[in-house]
Subunit: 333 residues, 2 copies
Amino acid sequence: MNRQITLASRPKGFPVPDDFKLVETPIPEPGEGEVLSRTLFMSVDPYMRGRMNDRASYAANVQIGDVMVGGTVGEVVASNDPDFEVGDIVQAQIGWQAYGVSMGSNLRKVDPDLAPVSTALGALGMPGLTAYCGLLNVGQPQEGETVLVTGAAGAVGSIVGQIAKIKGCRTVGVAGSAKKIAHVVDALGFDAAFNYKEVADYSAELQRLCPDGIDVYFDNVGGAVSDAAFPLMNVHGRIAVCGQISQYNLTEVEQGPRFMWHFIAKRLTMRGFLVSDFADQHAEGLKQLAVWVNEGRIKYREDIWEGLARAPEAFIDMLRGGNIGKRLVKVAD
Amino acid sequence: MNRQITLASRPKGFPVPDDFKLVETPIPEPGEGEVLSRTLFMSVDPYMRGRMNDRASYAANVQIGDVMVGGTVGEVVASNDPDFEVGDIVQAQIGWQAYGVSMGSNLRKVDPDLAPVSTALGALGMPGLTAYCGLLNVGQPQEGETVLVTGAAGAVGSIVGQIAKIKGCRTVGVAGSAKKIAHVVDALGFDAAFNYKEVADYSAELQRLCPDGIDVYFDNVGGAVSDAAFPLMNVHGRIAVCGQISQYNLTEVEQGPRFMWHFIAKRLTMRGFLVSDFADQHAEGLKQLAVWVNEGRIKYREDIWEGLARAPEAFIDMLRGGNIGKRLVKVAD
């Protein structure tokens, strides 16, 4: 039998385990041009919270009773596409389930000799590409500039900071625990970082850690750290809006200080993006990320929970900031 | 004798007449390479409010006792620069005074046969260029798109809307009186406009007037109208931040709903700018604006107060939205 996790109810605020339901269904048969994969790892990502809402946003939302969406790494167990053979490892988008069919055109082959296959959901997958495409296209970091990254210990932020270092920037991270701060500074090589849960005056701390101001602000989180960052942006600074995880579980729109004046005084540019906006750079980006990973210039950490049944819990905990590095769920060996 | 208006005290909130002082001083002698001009018209503009503050922003602030800064149109009365003759009409930056010296390199000759010389401070001057450079570079309006303009009856907004019409856009204005609304729709040809002082639900009104959403938001004002505009932006929308006049006289930073999430969902770009960022386009811009004015495709309105002594009052009233079109002060015939 197949096992699937479906959306049982739409969350009000933070999701709870009862918003999800584990169901058993027959394993599907692949149709013409389709490939059946058996999930080894599934990804839980912040964006999935938006798909649980009533209203569609930039992508369609999940309907009640539907399988939760998301990326997987799996093994091909049946194939009606000549490009894929049984035993191939593929990155698919079949969501939170043990088996699923995909059109071959929606699959990406993963080379198990290049790196652990789970990285196809992290440093060498969507989060890595989000960091790569977003930082380079929107942030446009120049040598000697200061790059501020929120969610610095997360799947995207941890890669952003390391690419910024490769580009010769001073890199400052913000994260939510002492362990995360130690990780990004000691293991990942950020120049500095602070724990926003412990620091009271974000503005003073940012001024201390960014003595030359901020040239690139790569934001995964939003909220009060952004409030403190805008006034410290340098002339012609760039703000890459990648995520706003501090806002996803609010039941009312939060208020904050107006900041558009700074955009005039400093001639700032702020741009929101999705990784799919840069689809034409994905192949090149994955190649470059793999080189950097193999050279040891990009380190990654995975935070793996075991068992499909624990996916809701792994997801909710990630939304609360429980992960260091890429949160994954291991579904099968 | 020369007459000058100096900064007497730094305003707390809205400026008051006592923040300014009218003083008499000797008419200065032009030094080497300098030109003495007698002011005919002087400009009052929203940006001057920022110069009255304690802290320098993108430009140096005015010190207590200094002449208020600003653009003028004057007649050359003495010249030590061979490029300028007595009787020439020049656009200068000598501020709020009846006479002043400038380096010739800081003057722009004004052709009195092209248009009334006062337009060198409005449609054919800094405000016109601000509209032209800002809309075309930052807004990048495409035929058939919807352009929303705040401060639509002001010196910049009125030109922005007309250029947007020339570019084939649906153009919607926001302004603060019934007279202004009538002016921008009936005289300037905006497709629609609303009076933000009379409309209660900005979001509903914007949805009504922008049925296809907003592609370009050219903002001179900020505040609650912006709050309503962001959620209605279309995918790949552009926000040109030109002014934030609603915020200039606040004594505390105003709070508003956080809106960065919309930047991700719609992949918006917001960019603040100064007209000086596009200095290399000014000559071409002035030429194009003059063509449009002479073809009757850009109409302008001037709102002229008489007498240098009334400049503070004219300025304060402009900050309160009293002007329709470009607010000027006529200093001499």
